[in-house]
């Protein structure tokens, strides 16, 4: 026979409400704390002037090519292209030369611009084939724009792509792009170590002795030979 039992469900109502309020109150800091790791270390690295994966801006909605250019398809069907944050952190503020006029056609792998800093040059090849629709004229009027906003106001060209689907297949996207950028920083460290050795420069100028962190804008202090090596051996080796 079932035993009848009575429990007053209202006896603990007050504590239950407190538990729910505590849960909601703790939920916000819990979630903020969970996501805070990337922000804190990125701010520390920024403050110290170190270049690390944490400070890079890598929006996940863009496609990234191996030569550190990005592409983004707008609703109008035009694709914006530009330089990614890592490349701009490495070079520092640059000017753009040899820009192609609107109306011209460009193929993937063609020279689309050169970035210049105090006479030192790096070639940037196009990640896309298509017709140039527009150039961003503010690039040379306000040279720091790509560094401040590489994926927004820092675009270089608007291109009407001819073969978008095929050409983005080999690009990095979303989390893959984040992982690739972290690896590229390591590859850049190795490149700098080798280049410094070849040029017999003091490594402490570029790489901090403690922990081997890279300074921001590492390439800006380097001579033209290192820029050439960067162009041929690092950026455009593929």
């Amino acid at each position: 026979m079932d035993v009848f039992s009575y429990s007053d469900i209202f006896a603990t109502k007050g504590i239950e409400y407190l538990i729910i309020i505590t849960f909601l109150a703790l939920l916000v800091p819990f979630w903020l704390l969970l996501n805070r790791q990337v922000r804190i270390s990125s701010q520390v690295n920024k403050a110290l002037g170190y270049l690390s994966a944490n400070i890079l801006r890598i929006p996940h909605g863009l496609f990234y090519s191996k030569n550190h250019t990005w592409m983004y398809m707008e609703k109008s069907g035009a694709a914006k292209v530009g330089l990614d944050d890592l490349l701009l952190h490495i070079t520092g503020e640059v000017k753009f030369s040899n820009l192609i006029s609107p109306g011209e056609f460009i193929r993937k792998g063609d020279l689309m611009t050169q970035i210049v800093q105090k006479g030192k040059v790096i070639r940037i090849f196009s990640p896309l084939s298509g017709k140039i629709l527009a150039i961003n004229h503010t690039l040379n009027e306000r040279p720091g724009t790509p560094n401040d906003d590489p994926y927004g106001k820092g675009w270089i060209y608007k291109i009407k792509p001819l073969n978008w689907v095929e050409e983005v297949k080999k690009c990095y996207f979303a989390e893959e792009a984040t992982n690739w950028s972290a690896k590229e920083i390591e590859r850049f460290k190795d490149f700098m170590a080798l280049s410094m050795k070849n040029c017999s420069f003091e490594p402490s100028v570029v790489v901090m002795q403690d922990g081997g962190e890279l300074c921001d804008h590492s390439l800006s202090e380097m001579p033209g030979e290192i820029w050439k090596d960067f162009d041929t051996d690092f950026l455009n080796s593929n």
Binding site: I20, L27, W31, L33, T178, N179
Partner: protein, 408 residues
């Protein structure tokens, strides 16, 4: 036109039957450590299953009239289905929330889910006193519509069909049937939505099965909120199993995984750990709320009370903290440890509800026989064998053929 000829022509002109026969041949080494352990267990398990059906359930199992639910239901069905919850959570994340980052693991998770439900439905048949009644909810020989089991039976059947449809594009790619692939790919979204809806109800439904056993389950585990607790815990149970199984598959089937997916692995594990941390945080507070609501604090200082605290603190709170810390520190090894602890915690919780605290007050407690344990393991090992067979042949971990990407 003859369908076989049509299919053969689709399959680049090769005869599909010859292809299927050739695929039955084993691939890779035979005497691996896993095979050496699992083959004897499967063989013995098969023998015990024959004995079970020949001589009756009492011959192999320790279930009685007072405790009719044994290890096969408690472990294989109730616990196993919780771990198969990774399929509905992941399909929700990928197809509904469009979290493309997890796309590379969707097929293997759905495959796992499908095999889990198929094998655990089989395990259920083993544990039924009258196994021929398994078809009653479907065929109508006394539907039993007033029982939660009616819902569970129909959901299992429909969910297996939904998962099969979700996975079928991989089968079509394996067989090279392009026309079927196009049709099946088009059905994926509908199957996904259907599957998610079904899953959420039967995950909680498995908990609802225990609602009528109020006087039989220890008060620390019984409450009218068991369905909600089962549903919420199935989220992190499934994702923890995805992390665990994914780590093993990543090592065992390393040669099949593309470079892109290998690089994405750690990011995926990290993302899943964040979801687990959040869900377990909510679950812990739910358990606390239920505990306070039931006013059972006087039971904490008993043997089962300590067992309850071990489950909550050691296997819910601790892995939740581990997930939290490991996500922030990006420590993959700690995430995997937390996943293992979570899996153990879910096994503990499900066994506590269905077996350990069930009729806790009886003089003679139910302890599964060695034969039940062997059969339970045989079911799991058989599932892994099929899983391995499929992975080695179908495009689950490896990329789909280029022609299939147009339909996907």
């Amino acid at each position: 036109m003859n369908n076989n000829l049509q299919i053969a022509l689709d399959n680049d002109g090769k005869s599909i039957w010859k292809f299927l026969i050739s695929e039955l041949k084993p691939k890779g080494k035979f005497l691996t450590p896993f095979n050496v352990i699992s083959i004897p267990i499967i063989i013995i398990g098969l023998g015990l299953i024959i004995l079970r059906f020949w001589k009756g359930i009492g011959e192999v199992s320790n279930v009685t009239q007072d405790i009719p639910w044994g290890l096969w239901k408690g472990f294989n069905v109730v616990t196993g289905v919780a771990f198969a919850g990774g399929a509905y959570v992941l399909t929700f994340m990928v197809y509904i929330l469009n979290m493309r980052k997890y796309r590379s693991i969707i097929r293997v998770t759905v495959l796992n889910g499908f095999l889990a439900y198929a094998f655990y439905a089989g395990a259920l048949v083993l544990d039924l006193g009258r196994p021929w009644h398994i078809f009653n909810p479907i065929i109508g020989n006394s539907f039993g519509a007033s029982s939660v089991l009616f819902l569970v039976a129909w959901h299992f059947l429909l969910y297996m069909i939904a998962q099969l449809i979700e996975f079928s594009p991989a089968i079509a790619e394996w067989l090279g049937i392009r026309r079927a692939h196009r049709i099946l790919s088009g059905m994926t979204m509908a199957a996904v939505i259907f599957g998610i809806t079904l899953s959420m109800l039967h995950q909680s439904g498995l908990g609802a099965l225990f609602l009528m056993a109020k006087e039989k389950i220890h008060p620390l585990w019984y409450s009218e909120f068991i369905p909600v607790l089962f549903l919420v815990s199935s989220i992190f149970a499934g994702l923890s199993m995805v992390i665990f199984e994914g780590s093993i598959s990543h090592k065992v089937f390393f040669d099949q995984i593309s470079e892109k997916n290998k690089n994405a692995q750690n990011g995926i594990i990290r993302g899943l750990s964040k979801i687990c941390a959040g869900t377990m945080f909510a679950y812990f507070f739910l358990q606390l709320l239920v505990f306070v609501h039931k006013q059972r604090w006087d039971m904490l200082d008993t043997a089962l009370g300590h067992w309850f605290l071990l489950e909550m603190l050691g296997f819910v709170l601790l892995p939740m903290i581990l997930f939290f810390v490991s996500y922030r520190k990006n420590n993959i090894a700690m995430i995997k440890t937390a996943a293992i602890l979570t899996i153990l915690g879910v096994i503990l919780n499900r066994l506590n509800v269905s077996i350990i605290s069930f009729r806790w007050d009886m003089a003679v407690r139910y302890v599964p026989s060695w034969m039940e344990v062997v059969v339970a393991l045989a079911v799991i090992f058989s599932q892994i064998w099929i899983f391995r067979w499929v992975i080695n042949r179908m495009p689950v971990l490896r990329d789909s053929p280029s022609w299939a990407n147009e339909h996907n």
